[in-house]
Amino acid sequence: MTTPLANYLILAALLFVIGLAGALTRRNAVLVLIGLELMFNAANLNFIAFWRFNPHPEKLTGLMFVLFSIAIGAAEAAVGLALIIAVYRHRRSALMDQFNSLKG
């Protein structure tokens, strides 16, 4: 007896919503980035679950997509955190509601 597909999808939906709520409500930019990463991972979980449950798993499509997606997530985190450090150096703050001017 294996876990049905719907359980994985609901887990991914919950993870996505937790990340979304965090990204929308927290003030610190680092936490907003963690929320984004959680949403990213929820999408990856959906790909893996659909790969496992589709009729042709030997084609490895979902798995390949997740491998590339993990690489993109790592690149996104690196650039995002570098941006936070650069903005912190100018504004002396990492709080989102203080990044409200474009003058730098």
């Binding site: 007896m1 294996t2 876990t3 597909l5 719907a6 994985y8 999808l9 887990l11 939906a13 919950l14 993870l15 996505f16 919503v17 937790i18 979304l20 709520a21 965090g22 929308l24 409500t25 927290r26 003030r27 610190n28 680092v30 936490l31 980035l33 963690i34 990463e37 959680l38 991972n41 990856n44 979980l45 893996i48 679950a49 790969w51 496992r52 449950f53 589709n54 009729p55 798993p57 030997e58 798995l63 390949m64 491998l67 993990i70 690489a71 993109i72 997530g73 790592a74 690149a75 985190a77 650039v79 955190l81 570098a82 936070i84 450090i85 650069a86 912190y88 150096r89 100018h90 989102m96």
Partner: protein, 172 residues
């Protein structure tokens, strides 16, 4: 049965880590809880017999991204700023949007009956086969990914690099 218990354990670890990462006040604790959530997801990938993706997830997220996040927290001195509210002023709108999205997602998952009855396949993804596919069918995406990672590496270093003090006196 064992499968269900493993899924429940990994899912509760993931969800608890995610909730704690988004709720706690201390940023270092948040980063550690996020690493726990990523590790739980890696365990779920293993349970779904996607071993390579699980180990890649563990290496990249628990290994690299969590360390990057901790470095950023320490470099921006977020760990010792505890004053003021943790949430932004319009946090109830964010929670409302998140609740609406959750209702929409769960509603659509529950209302698709074909999805629930889909049988699990006896999937296996040997590393040799993944490597063959990466070298044949996915060679262009692989090369592009290498280019993207190089660009991201250089971009991250250039953006975070300390500017010369003479060129910009406001930057320290």
């Amino acid at each position: 049965m064992l499968n269900e218990i493993a899924f429940l354990l990994c899912a509760s670890l993931t969800l608890a880590g995610a909730v704690a990462a988004m709720m706690l006040r201390n940023l270092v604790h948040c980063a550690l809880c996020a690493a726990g959530a990523f590790a739980g997801l890696a365990a779920i990938y293993l349970q779904l017999s996607a071993e390579f993706a699980g180990f890649a997830q563990f290496l990249v997220y628990v290994g690299a991204v969590a360390i990057l996040i901790v470095f950023t927290i320490l470099l921006t001195r977020g760990a010792d700023i505890q004053t003021g509210r943790a949430g932004s002023s319009s946090s109830w709108i964010g929670l409302l949007v998140a609740g609406l999205v959750l209702a929409c997602l769960v509603g659509s998952i529950m209302s698709s009956p074909g999805l629930v009855r889909l049988p699990a396949q006896t999937a296996n993804a040997p590393v040799q086969k993944i490597g063959e596919q990466l070298m044949n069918q996915y060679i262009m995406p692989l090369e592009t990914m290498g280019l993207l990672l190089t660009a991201a590496l250089l971009g991250g270093v250039v953006i975070a690099m300390r500017e010369p003090a003479k060129a910009n006196p406001s930057a320290r």
